[in-house]
């Protein structure tokens, strides 16, 4: 091998060696120039500045998670007790009417006239099974008279007159006030007692969507 050949060989080896350590242009080819808006991480002080100022009056006030799902009862103890009692029993706060082979319940105040001969059938011994008002009336219509009343009459805004009540007694039948077929209690005027305040009618245009509470 002459000198020139050796130089060429060494250069060849060198070139090959350099090529071996040359990194593959892996990333270079896949490089991206798409701009990314990179932000530094926020620190405690920066977040503190963003926070809403606290109401000093509420400092130290705590709340339990369950209280947010089940708020306390209202502070109207009288109304609460009234509602609790009402929920105890429907039968106890109704008038019981017994027939020969069954009995039913109607709201107290819906029986407007009870002839003496039927008094034993009122709130007395119950015979047979409890039935619906409709079934009961179908089998006992011979001694019961239905008296359709309006809401105004039921609430006492247009009270039934004494003369009318007297005329009911003369029928000799048990008189039950009904509204749209269902027994309804009727407020009769009581001397010295004011009528309850009734809400004014709401115009249809002002109706709000009702919803479950």
């Amino acid at each position: 091998m002459n000198g020139l050949e050796r130089i060429v060989l060494l250069l060849g080896i060198g070139a090959g060696f350099l090529g071996a350590v040359e990194p593959t242009p892996h990333g270079g080819e896949n490089g991206s120039a798409k701009h990314i808006d990179v932000r530094p991480l926020p620190n405690h002080e920066e977040i503190l500045k963003l926070q809403r100022p606290r109401d000093p009056g509420l400092r130290g006030r705590t709340v339990r998670l369950s209280d947010l799902q089940k708020p306390n009862l209202g502070d109207n103890a009288e109304k609460s007790a009234e509602a609790a009692k009402r929920r105890e029993s429907l039968v106890k706060r109704s008038t019981i009417i017994s027939g020969v082979r069954g009995w039913t319940i109607v709201p107290r105040g819906s029986v407007l006239s009870t002839p003496t001969r039927f008094k034993a059938r009122m709130n007395g011994a119950r015979k047979g099974k409890l039935v619906t008002w409709g079934d009961f009336y179908a089998k006992n219509s011979s001694w019961i008279r239905l008296l359709p009343v309006t809401i105004e009459q039921a609430t006492g805004q247009k009270p039934l007159t004494e003369d009318f009540m007297e005329s009911l007694k003369r029928t000799g039948l048990l008189v039950v006030a009904v509204c749209e077929g269902g027994p309804i209690s009727v407020r009769l005027p009581v001397e010295g007692e004011e009528l309850p305040r009734i809400s004014e009618p709401v115009k249809a245009a002002d109706w709000k969507v009702p919803s479950r509470r």
Binding site: G28, I36, N76, S110, I151, P210
Partner: protein, 343 residues
């Protein structure tokens, strides 16, 4: 008096073991203003229209089922209905589109949109006598911290939180409350976790407990942190060594990765490479921690000189720089020797 179409429905309780035919069902309507009670008997399943309607003061509708021989009574359901019954809807808007639960990060803004409808206004003829429940609703905002190291209240019995705000709303309106960051507190706000709860409830009336009209919560997650170890900016490397990456509190919906570019750190490098083996993709419901070793950084360094390695964290709120380091690459090979030509 509101003579609206009021549908009454009844159904016997399935838990009653006796024959449903042995039960007699009653719906009793009790008007609150007059005290008038009205009965409608119903079959085990059916509906009827209330002919009496309901007033502003409202009426209770009770569904009773009574056994026809034992006279055992069951109050199956009770509803209080008024001509004016408020409704409320709360919507929390955050920068995270995750739908299962509203969530955001401590430093991020969020909006609470409250819609209140059905309240009686001052011009209404019944305003003076209408119950409080028809005039306003209560607003409560509270904040609850998760126990340290936990991402829920799973092991906490009835957690205690802080009351942040309370008040009432007396208008039928849409209200938007914007918060620029969380309301949770802590010595290091970047690391707090918890929930903020917003509740709209109706006033208690007629013995009915105050009712939650709507309640929504937003989960608050901390700011992620990360470190890069394994290189020394003062040293020169022929080959970039493996780097150790430690990640904490990665946002539940995030992608974290390493990018490399030539030159010193800059906000907008002209060209950069993403180390594709460094991707950490999190699609979860809670923050995550990860540790990983990345050996392929060197493959993404083609030129000699100073390079910047950045650890980026992409979330729905943007991209954050968790950590960065610099590495000097010197691939020059020095050959000490000479070429001898021997004739």
């Amino acid at each position: 008096m509101k003579k609206s179409v009021l549908i009454l429905a009844s159904a016997l309780p399935v838990t009653l073991s006796a024959d449903p035919a042995d039960y007699v069902n009653f719906i009793r309507q009790v008007q609150q203003d007059s005290g008038v009670e009205w009965d409608v008997t119903v079959p085990p399943s059916g509906h009827a229209i209330s002919p009496t309607g309901v007033s502003v003061d409202g009426a209770f509708f009770e569904l009773w089922s009574i056994h026809n021989t034992s006279v055992s009574e069951f109050l199956l359901d009770e509803q209080y209905v008024t001509a004016y019954t408020p409704n409320a809807n709360i919507r929390i808007v955050t920068g995270d589109p995750y739908r299962a639960i509203r969530r955001t990060r401590v430093d991020q803004p969020f909006q609470v949109q409250i819609t209140v409808t059905g309240l009686i206004d001052e011009n209404d003829p019944n305003y003076a006598t209408a119950p409080d429940a028809s005039k306003w609703v209560d607003y409560t905002h509270s904040a609850f911290h998760y126990p340290e190291g936990a991402y829920s209240f799973q092991k906490v019995d009835n957690p205690v939180g802080s009351l942040m705000a309370e008040g009432f709303m007396e208008k039928t309106a849409k209200t938007t409350v914007t918060f620029m960051a969380t309301n949770l507190s802590g010595s290091d706000l970047t690391k707090v976790t918890g929930e903020e709860v917003f509740t709209i409830s109706a006033q208690a009336d007629f013995g009915v407990s105050a009712t939650v009209l709507d309640s929504e919560k937003v989960q608050i997650w901390p700011v992620a942190t990360g470190t890069i170890r394994g290189t020394d900016p003062s040293e020169y490397y022929e080959q970039v060594p493996p780097i150790m990456v430690n990640l904490e509190n990665l946002y539940p919906h995030s992608t974290t990765y390493i990018r490399v570019y030539e030159g010193p750190q800059t906000s907008s490098p002209a060209k950069y490479n993403v180390v594709n083996t460094s991707y950490v993709i999190i699609e979860d419901s809670i923050p995550q921690n990860r540790s990983l070793v990345i050996r392929e950084v060197d493959q993404f360094v083609s030129e000699e000189g100073l390079h910047t390695i950045e650890l980026l964290h992409r979330t729905p709120f943007g991209t954050d720089l968790l950590a960065s380091t610099q590495v000097h690459v010197d691939r020059t090979i020095e050959i000490n020797g000479g070429v001898i030509n021997q004739e």
